[in-house]
Symmetry: C3
Subunit: 475 residues, 3 copies
C-alpha cells in the first residue's frame, strides 16, 4: 500500500506555504544545477584514481554507512549481522549481502523523518532508477536491480563524478599520507578536481593509541628526525607544505573541545618528551591538543591553509562497540561545547590577521546564536561552516540559518560543506541544502524583508561563491 508513488516530487523539502513556495521554487531553480563544491568529504582518492565500481547494494549503501547501521543497531541488530566486520577475525560476520539488504529494507520505516531516508530516496530513485519503496516484499527485486545497475561502467566513480557535476572535492588525509593518489590524479588532469586536506588529529592527542605510530610515520614522511617538540613542529610544517604542493587548501581538526590555549614553550616541550617516553594522562593530552590548535593557526599565517575546527564529539561512547568493531561505528555522541572562552587565545593572537582563516563547525546547536554568530559577525578571520553531521538535515540546516543569520548575516558563513563518506549521497546532500536555503530565503522575501533579486544572488553565493571563496588560496 504505497499511497504516494515512489518518485521524487519536484517541490520536496521546499516550504509548503503558498506565498513562499513559488518564491522558493524560483530561488531553487537558479541554483539547482550549479556545480558541486565538496570541501570536507571522506572519499578515498584511491577509489577515484582506480575508477572503482561500488560493489553490491549492501557494500554501497549499508555496511560502510554508520548513520544507517547505527539506526538498525538501535533497534536490536548487532553490527556483524549487518556485515560490519569485527576486529577479531574469528568472530562471526554476516556475509550474505542479500540478507543484509533485506534486513535493511524491511526496517525502512525506522528512517522516516531522517535525512538518511531523504538521501537514500534521492539516490535510489534519481541515480539508480528504483521505482519501488523498500520493504520486506520488495527487498530482493530492488537488490537485483541495484546489483545489475552497479555493475555497469556508467556507474563507476569517475562517470558519476561527472554526472554529479562535482567541480571540486576535498579528501581527508592522514598527516603522513604519501598523496600518491592525488599525484596520479593530477597527472591525469584531475588535480583541480580532487585535492587533499591535512588532518593531523592523530599527532595532537598524545594519550591516544596510535600517537607514537603517528609520530614515526610523520618522521618518515617528512624526512625530519622527530625527537623533540621543535623537530615535531618542523615536521608538521614540512608536511603542510607537501600538502599545499599537492593542492591542499585546508587543514581539519576534530577535537574534543575548542580549547586553543597555547602552552608555555617549556611545558609543550616537556609534554612532548613525556609522551615520547611513556603514557600521558587525558588532561595533559587535551592541553597539548589545544596548544597544537594554536600552533596550527600560526602555521596557517605562513602557508595559507584554511583551518577547519569540528569540536564537541565524545568518540566511541561504547567501549564494547569500539573493542568489537573499531571506531566510526555510530557510537560517537556529542557533548556540550564552548567557544567564547575557548577560542579567545587563538583569536587574540590571530583573529584580526588578514592571513588567517578559520571555519567553525559543531553539532551543539546551543552555541549558534549565543557564541558562533557573534564571533563570526565580528572577527574577519572566522566563518561558520555548514551544520554538521547529525545536523546535516532539513531541520538542522534550517535552524542553522534561523539562529545565525540575524547576527552574522549570510556572508560570514562558508556556504554548504558536506561531510560524507558515501559518494553516492553527495548530490542528494547538496540538493537538499539548496532547497533548505531556498526555503529560508523565500520566507524573507515573502515577508518583504528581502528582494527576490537579492535572495537569488544570496542563494548563488551560498551554493557556489562562498564555498569556493572560503577555501580559495589568496596568494
Amino acid at each position: 500500500m504505497a499511497m504516494t508513488p515512489w518518485t521524487l516530487h519536484e517541490d520536496r523539502a521546499l516550504p509548503t506555504e503558498p506565498g513562499q513556495r513559488g518564491i522558493a521554487r524560483e530561488i531553487y531553480r537558479a541554483i539547482a544545477d550549479l556545480p558541486i563544491i565538496s570541501m570536507h568529504g571522506h572519499i578515498d582518492a584511491g577509489a577515484i584514481r582506480r575508477n572503482e565500481s561500488f560493489g553490491d547494494p549492501a557494500e554501497l549503501f549499508i555496511i560502510p554507512d554508520h548513520y544507517l547501521v547505527r539506526m538498525l543497531v538501535s533497534q536490536g541488530y548487532q553490527h556483524h549481522e549487518l556485515g560490519v566486520r569485527p576486529l577479531d577475525d574469528g568472530a562471526p560476520v554476516e556475509t550474505d549481502h542479500r540478507l543484509i539488504w533485506r534486513r535493511f529494507a524491511e526496517n525502512w520505516k525506522l528512517y522516516r523523518g531522517t535525512p538518511t531516508r531523504y538521501w537514500l530516496e534521492h539516490e535510489l530513485v534519481e541515480i539508480f532508477g528504483v521505482t519501488t519503496r523498500p520493504s520486506a516484499e520488495t527487498a530482493d527485486e530492488i537488490y537485483d536491480q541495484l546489483a545489475e545497475t552497479l555493475a555497469r561502467p556508467e556507474f563507476r566513480i569517475r562517470a558519476l563524478f561527472d554526472r554529479f557535476n562535482i567541480q571540486m572535492l576535498s579528501t581527508t588525509d592522514a598527516p603522513a599520507a604519501d598523496l600518491a593518489d592525488h599525484a596520479a590524479l593530477a597527472a591525469e588532469g584531475w588535480g583541480e578536481r580532487v585535492v587533499p586536506t591535512f588532518r593531523p588529529d592523530v599527532l595532537f592527542y598524545p594519550d591516544r593509541t596510535g600517537w607514537r605510530a603517528g609520530i614515526d610515520a610523520l618522521a618518515q614522511a617528512s624526512g625530519v628526525d622527530v625527537h623533540d617538540y621543535p623537530s615535531f613542529l618542523d615536521a608538521i610544517r614540512q608536511r603542510r607544505l607537501a600538502f599545499v604542493a599537492a593542492g591542499a587548501l585546508a587543514t581539519d581538526h576534530g577535537h574534543l573541545t575548542a580549547n586553543t590555549t597555547p602552552l608555555a614553550r617549556v611545558e609543550a616541550e616537556r609534554t612532548f618528551a613525556a609522551a615520547m617516553s611513556g603514557p600521558v594522562d587525558a588532561v595533559r593530552a587535551e592541553a597539548f591538543a589545544g596548544n597544537m590548535l594554536f600552533e596550527s593557526a600560526r602555521m596557517s599565517l605562513d602557508d595559507g591553509l584554511v583551518m577547519q575546527l569540528h569540536p564537541g564529539v565524545q568518540r566511541d561512547h561504547s567501549a564494547a562497540v569500539l573493542a568489537g568493531y573499531g571506531p566510526d561505528n555510530g557510537f560517537d555522541i556529542p557533548r556540550q561545547v564552548e567557544f567564547t572562552r575557548a577560542l579567545r587565545p587563538l583569536l587574540e593572537a590571530f583573529g584580526l590577521d588578514p592571513r588567517f582563516r578559520l571555519i567553525l563547525f559543531t553539532i551543539d546547536e546551543t552555541v549558534y546564536s549565543r557564541e558562533l554568530a557573534p564571533i563570526a559577525g565580528a572577527y574577519p578571520s572566522v566563518k561558520l561552516g555548514a551544520p554538521w553531521w547529525f545536523l546535516d538535515s532539513p531541520g538542522g540546516m534550517a535552524r542553522f540559518r534561523e539562529l545565525t543569520t540575524e547576527t552574522a548575516g549570510f556572508y560570514n558563513t562558508s556556504g554548504f560543506v558536506d561531510d560524507t563518506r558515501a559518494f553516492a549521497s553527495i548530490p542528494a546532500r547538496h540538493d537538499l541544502a539548496r532547497r533548505v536555503d531556498a526555503g529560508f530565503l523565500s520566507k524573507l522575501v515573502a515577508e518583504h524583508r528581502l528582494g527576490l533579486d537579492e535572495a537569488v544572488e544570496t542563494a548563488i553565493d551560498l551554493t557556489h561563491t562562498l564555498p569556493l571563496a572560503s577555501y580559495a588560496r589568496r596568494d
Copy 2:
C-alpha cells in the same frame, strides 16, 4: 465580548497552512479515538478503588494543580489564598471555594498561550459542558454548573475512566507501598487497567529528610532486616518483585542529575552505614543516588522492569514555599542537565543488553538534538520519553519531534507519556499530543518527505503501539 464562541474547534492545534491542514486532519482522524495508554501518572489508585467523586470545582481544578496555582502566585496571590493548606495547622487558609474559583476565573487571561489554558478549555467544554468563558462575570454561574455536574454519578472516576477510553494507567508508588488498592482493583478485574510503578527516590538520596523513615518503611514492607548496604539492596529487590507481582511494568527515578557512576562496593557500604548513623552531605548523597541508578539498572536485567529517568529539576527552589506548604507547590525549577558523560557508566555496563530498557525524560531542551537523540539513535536499550512537564505543551511537543526525529527517528521514542496529577486532564493531554504529532507528520507529507500512508501508520504507532511496546513485559 467573546468574539470566538466558547466551543472547541475541530481543527484546534492543527497546522493552519492549507497544504498541511487537510493532511493533518486525515492523520488525526486515524488516531483520535484510539484508547489511552497513560504510563506515568500520579493518580491515586485508592480513588479509583473507591470510585470517588471529585468534590467541588476548586477541589478538582485549582487547589491540587500546582501548574495552575503557580501562575496565580506569580501574579501576587499567596498559596493559602487559593486554598492550598499550610503545613502549620494554625496558619490561615481560604476555605470559601467559590471565592477561590472566582480568583481563578477573573485571572483567566494569565493562562493565555499556556497548556493549562488549553487543557482547561478542553475539560470545561468537552467533559463538563461549560458554554461560557471564565471571567469575573461568569465565575459564579460556571461554579454552580460545575458543582451540580460533579455531583452526578456519571462524573465519578470509574465512569470517566471508561468515558475517557483509558486502556491502561500506571500510578506512581512509594517503594514501601502496600499496593492494597491495586490488589483490590485486580480482584475486581481492573488489574490490567491500573498498574503500579516503583519509585524509590526517597531511598536513594540519604541527605533528604524522610530517608531514614523510608528505610524503616522499606524494611517493614519487604520483611528484610535492613541494616547494611547488602540488606538494603536485597530489600529493594524484594519490593521490586512485589511490584512486578502487582502488575508493575516500570520503575521511575526523579534525580537531580543523570549521574550513573557506580561506587566501589566498599564506598557504597560506607555511605549507607554513615547515613544510618547520622547526616551525609549533598555531594556524597548525590554520588550514592548515581550509584543506585546503576544498581537499579542491574536489577532490571533480572526482573524486567523498564527504567524511567527524569533528571534535571531543582526541587523546592523557594525555601519559604517549602516551609510553608511542603513540596510540589510550583517552585521546582529546572537546571541544565548532561547525559553524554553521565549515562556512560550505565550504558557501558548494560546499554547493549537486550534485557535492559531505559526511557529518558528531561525538561532541558538543549540536550534533545545534541545528546538524547544521538544516544537513543545508537543504544538499543534507550528510548526517549515524551517531552515532560513544562514541555508537555503544543510548542514543547513540536520542538521535541523537530529536534529528535532527524537523528533518532520515531521508533526510538516511547510515544506520548503524560505526567499528570489531574485525572480530568488526561484526555485533553492525549488529544493534544495526537494533534501535535499529526501536525508534525503532516509537514513531512506536505513537503513530500513521507507518504501519507506512512504518516498514518507512524501516528498510530506513536499513539498506541509504541507506548504499549515500550513498557510491555518481554517474558
Copy 3:
C-alpha cells in the same frame, strides 16, 4: 536590478500563511499607533536637552552603531576606516564621511537577513524618505539626500521625539551622574518623558580599570566620605535616592554572570578595603559584584527602584580592539549563563516580597524554557524582559515568545524593551516588535487556541500596559 521596489510593504514581518495573515493584520492595526515606551535606552539626555541635530549620514547611521560597524569589520574593514576614532590621537582615522558612507552602501548585502538591515530600511524609507536601495551606484545620491534632510529643523531630536510618538524614554546613567540634563528637561516639562536609570556596574567590579575613579566620583556626587564598605553602601543609597528624585524608575546591571550570593559582612568589608588599597583578582571581584546585586535588591525594597539584570556577556573579547578603540565596538561576545542556582540567594531573600521587582534579560536563548520561564512563572517579583541585543530581531523575538509563553504566560513578561544607542531606530524597533507579537498571537488565534478579542487585548498589554506597569512606581 531592484525587483522589489524600495518601499516598506505594509505586511512586512507579518506571517505569510494566509490563515494567519489577516488575523495578524487586525491585531497589528490595534497596536500600530500606540505611543512608545522606551525603558532601557542609551540616548544622551543632553542631546535631547540641547535639541541636537544628528550630523551627517555617517555620523548618524554608521560611526556610532557598533552593530553595523562590527559587520563591516567582520569582512575585513578596520574600525578606523569606518570613522571610529582610535584612542591614540595620532593614529589614522577616516574623516571623509562620504567615503565611509560609500563603504557601507556598497556592502549593503552583508546585512541581508539581519535586524540592522530591517531597521535601516525602515529608517531610510519611512523617516528620511529615501527611495533607492543603497549600493555603490546610489551611495552618493542617498548621502546627499540624507545630508540635506538631516539639516532641517524637523529632523532635530525633539521634533523626532514627537513624531515618533515616544511617551516615555529612559536614559542610562553613571552612578555619579549629576542629572543636570534631566533637571533641565524637567524644568521644561519633559520630566515625565525622559527619566534616568541608575547603572552602577562601574562600582561593583573592583578589578576593572575605572573602579577607583568611580568610587571617587561616587563620593563627590553623594557627599558621602566613601572610605569603607558601610560608607560605600551609604553613598549608593544616597545616589539611588537622588535618581528617584530625578524621576528614575529602575536600576540596570550588566554583569558577567547572574550570581547573587551575598558575602559575609566581614568578607565584603575586606574585599572593599583590599580594592581601595590595591588590585583584587577577578574571582574576588566577581564575588563582590554578586554580593552587590544582592545588596541592590535589598535597597530596592526601600526605594522602589525596579532592578534590571543583563548577564552573560564577555565584554571586549578582542584585547586589540579594546586597546585600539575602547569598549562597545562590537567585540562583546555572549557566554553561557545560568539563573536557577545563581538567582536563588536573592530570590530566597526577596523573591516573594511584594516590594521587590526584578526584570531579567539575557542573550543566551538556552535558558528561556529551562530556567527563565519557570522562574518568572512562579516568583511574583520576577518578569522577563524582551529578548535583548542580538536577539532584538524578528526570529529572536519570535523564539522568545515560543519558548517562554507556554510556561510563563504573557503577563510575566515586561512587554517590549529596546536597548538602543541609535535614536532614529527606536520606531523601527518598536514597530518590528509589535509585528512579531501580532504574528505570534495570530498563530494562537488561527489554531483556535485563543480568541481574537483576547489576542488584541494581549497585544495592547504587551505594547503599552505591561512596559508601563512593569516600571511604574507603586508608592
